[in-house]
């Protein structure tokens, strides 16, 4: 069915938003089929974002773990994460649609910074919704957004994290749907967002496939990425979908006391924020509180395409907890001189386990963002 990945996806939204989603779908497919739009997008990715991002051989880490580790360096993009790819793509779309005002939600603040940056670049007003808990733990990104001219609106309802910021952004959109473009940051939400975000992030996988082939002469055994909503993972996966390559998403296993963000591993299909996908919910259909040391993985839902890839077993989803992610953060600093975002550190954290499973294998890890924003959190946990 249109707008679904198998039984996942769909458009579970207030009636008021339906025409806007239909318009978005129409405009996106027209834009994506338009040579001029594609060239403009590629131009900004090259000249503003700094693409292609390199693939780095993590030599000392490889030796340490006994596998070949290659890192796709999305941390080197302008603004420090893969989020800018999608923000640039969608802002070009918003401009094409004649929208005057941009809104976004953010968890770790990376998508908020990317959106605020894109808005500054094109001179558009920007409102970013952010949970008060995330504002506290990602303070530097809040200041960056304000410097970029964005208004950061604190959301204190519910769990005061990404899920509530997303609900609040949707409420704004319902109210101002005529003038406003909702720049969603992950591969979640109602159709066409999961598809649109994947297409704007596809560049990660397409570049990486060519790069790893040039470096090593063959495809990697596995492609590994962290999964919150799942945009960096779906971006890199889409370059390898038809290859004999294992696709592995790493979910946040949280504090080890049952509070986590592992929607696919522990969730049950349900509807949140406009799409049906795996959802952390109780027996009564209420959405559960989540926890991860990485704010960007602290979300009870997941992109519907990941639910689908899990159901068909094309991809598998694994767990890394706060402690393992923090260890991986330190390890990558010491071994390679790279500070990963705590989100991306979950993907690095899985390598220890994978090295036991497949000694000697070559893996490509999506290093989706840099860790400067997380220094505060890591210092609190003790170096």
């Amino acid at each position: 069915m249109k707008g679904y990945f198998g039984e996942f996806g769909g458009q579970y939204v207030p009636e008021t938003l339906l025409p806007a989603l239909q318009e978005l779908e129409k405009e996106f497919s027209a834009a994506w089929g338009d040579r001029e739009f594609r060239d403009e997008f590629a131009g900004y990715l090259r000249d503003y974002v700094g693409r292609p991002s390199p693939v780095t051989h993590a030599r000392r880490l490889s030796k340490h773990l006994g596998i070949g580790v290659w890192l796709k360096r999305e941390d080197l993009n302008h603004t420090g994460s893969h989020k800018i790819n999608n923000a640039i793509g969608q802002i070009l779309l918003a401009r094409r649609m004649g929208k005057q005002r941009i809104i976004a939600e953010t968890g770790a603040g990376q998508h908020g910074v990317a959106t605020a940056t894109a808005c500054a670049l094109f001179g558009l007003p920007c409102v970013v919704y952010m949970g008060t808990l995330d504002i506290e733990r990602q303070h530097m990104n809040v200041e960056r957004m304000r410097l970029l001219g964005a208004e950061v609106v604190p959301v204190s309802t519910g769990t005061a994290t990404l899920k509530d910021a997303t609900s609040e952004a949707i409420r704004d959109w319902v109210t101002n749907v005529d003038t406003t473009y909702y720049l969603l940051g992950s591969a979640v939400g109602p159709h066409p967002y999961p598809t649109l975000v994947r297409e704007f992030q596809r560049v990660i996988g397409e570049e990486a496939r060519g790069q790893i082939l040039r470096h090593t002469g063959s495809l990697p055994r596995a492609v590994i990425a962290c999964v919150g909503g799942g945009s960096n993972a779906i971006g890199i996966f889409s370059g390898f979908m038809n290859d004999p390559v294992e696709l592995i998403g790493v979910e946040a296993y949280g504090d080890g006391n049952g509070r986590h963000g592992a929607s696919i591993c522990f969730g049950i299909p349900g509807v949140l924020h406009g799409a049906r996908s795996h959802l952390l919910q109780n027996r009564d259909g209420q959405v559960l509180d989540t926890h991860s040391v990485a704010a960007g993985l602290d979300y009870p839902g997941v992109g519907p395409e990941h639910s689908f890839l899990s159901s068909t077993r094309r991809a598998r989803y694994e767990l890394v907890d706060d402690r393992q992610a923090l260890d991986a953060f330190r390890l990558l600093n010491r071994m390679e001189g790279i500070a990963p975002a705590l989100e991306s550190a979950h993907a690095i954290g899985f390598l220890t386990q994978y090295a036991k499973e497949r000694p000697g294998a070559t893996v490509l890890v999506n290093l989706s963002g840099r860790g400067d924003k997380d220094l505060h959190t890591v210092l609190q946990e003790g170096l």
Partner: protein, 251 residues
């Protein structure tokens, strides 16, 4: 017989009450008080952790009810008694996830068996034919919403799968009281009426007797939620407050 109840009531006001606030027993008494005060039908709102179509008042009501321990499993066994206690038909309003958790068809059937005559889902899937058929099979009304942004073509489709009444959303936005309501509502209601014989009721934003009066000059009924729940949450005697608030709106 929701359509009949709305038509038969000369001043058809449909109050919305969040279930489980401050507790389920009180909600049962509020339902009876609203029935006694002359409600045309009564909407019982199922609290949800992430009510994305609701404004601050109903978000707070949902949140408080969940904190106080509301569960759908706790509500279901009480509904039969509630529906027997009033002559007005009872309608359940719920986001789709709680209804789907134990199987959508099964939950709808349980609601129907408890005397619930209609259901309103604010985040129904775009293609709602599945739930439309489930409701039709068990003789339950599926009340669908038409928004100010809904196209003519879509309006036809929605109305054709709707029963009980058509819920005309008066404003672009979330639920909650507004001091003024847009003038286009009259045109919107008229255009829906040209497509169906069902009653058309307006909702979102209504909070005064004057607004009720104005709406009823062209609509068949008016839904009042946030205003009522704001009063109920503030009141020392929520049951009396609910009945009195409705009486004032209908005056």
């Amino acid at each position: 017989m929701i359509a009949e109840a709305v038509r038969a009531n000369k001043k058809a006001v449909i109050p919305y009450v969040t279930a489980g606030l401050p507790d389920l027993d009180t909600t049962g008494e509020i339902v009876r008080a609203l029935g006694d005060a002359g409600a045309a039908a009564i909407e019982i709102g199922i609290p949800f952790s992430d009510p994305m179509a609701d404004g601050p008042v109903l978000q707070k009501a949902s949140h408080r009810a969940l904190k106080a321990g509301f569960t759908l499993e706790g509500l279901l066994p009480r509904l039969a008694k509630w529906s027997a206690s009033v002559s007005a038909p009872l309608i359940v309003m719920s986001y789709i996830n709680p209804l789907m958790r134990r199987g959508l068809a099964e939950t709808l059937a349980r609601l129907s068996d408890s005397g619930i005559q209609g259901v309103i889902v604010p985040d129904l899937p775009c293609d709602a034919s599945g739930i439309h058929e489930m409701c039709r099979d068990i003789g339950m009304d599926l009340i669908r919403l038409v928004a100010p942004t809904t196209s003519e073509e879509r309006r036809r489709e929605v109305v054709s799968q709707c029963s009980g009444f058509v819920y005309a959303v008066t404003v672009k936005g979330v639920t909650g009281a507004r001091s003024s309501l847009p003038a286009e509502v009259r045109r919107q209601v008229k255009s829906i009426k040209s497509l169906t014989d069902l009653p058309v009721c307006t909702g979102f934003g209504v909070s005064t007797a004057a607004q009720v009066e104005e709406m009823l000059s062209f609509a068949d009924g008016v839904i009042v939620g946030s205003h009522l729940m704001a009063r109920v949450m503030e009141a020392k005697e929520p049951v009396e407050e609910a009945g009195n608030t409705l009486k004032i709106l209908m005056a």
